[in-house]
Amino acid sequence: MTAAEEDAADGRIVMITGGSRGIGLACARWFLARGDRVAVTSRSGAVEGDPGPTDRFLSLVCDVTDPAQVEAAFTSVEQAWGPVEVLVANAGITRDTLVLRMSEEAWSEVIDTNLTGVFRVSKRAVAKMIRQRRGRVVMVSSVSAFIGSAGQANYAAAKAGLVGLARSLAAEVASRSITVNVVVPGLVETDMLAELGEERTTAFATQIPMGRIARPEEIAAVIGFLTSEDAGYITGAVLPVDGGLAMGL
């Protein structure tokens, strides 16, 4: 068998940060259903529900703000299966408050996780992808990066930063058949949305042309597509999946 055929048989090696719930977990299920091998990372290491067959699924503890933990997570995957071929950089946190009340610490913590954390995992993943002359990186942004979100200056800034990170990295590694793209979810039915509160969720929801909130699976399917062979010529793209909320961003 050629290397490509072996990959097809065993599935690709996928890492999803923030994969224990929400969009990340939906991605894990999408890739597992396709026959890929999936490692999810989270700060707790505990996954909600049963994601699927254990020989194709790993749950790793990794705080993306800690370079040593990032290194350890990648090493674990490499020892189990081999180098990561598909990275979904999804881990993110919120520390919502108005700018006037926002501490340096609340700002830095969100930037460190949601932006610098993506830099850390992408850098580590791409180093091996370059050797293989192929790879897929998808970063999970947010509509708040484009339309703003009162109380989420730190979160929106980090999510907007991903676009510059993705496009620069895309330019650097395009010659190695590695693509780097950004998916921009709108409102999605997740724990993070629940934290936003019912009042603000309803206020947002009334502005969505589709008139409803997304299911995590609807975001996962688009992320999955961007990692497919069919999406091989898409790189540096910013793809909204928001029911029309931020149309024209």
Binding site: A127, I130, R131, E172, V173, S175, R176
Partner: protein, 79 residues
Amino acid sequence: MSNDETFEKFRECAVEVLQVPADKVTKEARFAEDLDADSLDLVELVMALEEAFDVSVEETELDGVETIGQAYDLITAKL
């Protein structure tokens, strides 16, 4: 390790990373013109050399490194 052995080890890294025939990896060979290597190839080579020789190279040290010989000298100076 003799100088010859050291260069041979260096050459193996270059052959693997740059995917060029061993006889093209001479000290006079220029990365861009002779080996068709771009900036990313050079970074990749440096990372492979750091691993193979257990040394660490700073970004600033790479300024002006245009030939195999210059890269070789940079690495061997750290051994």
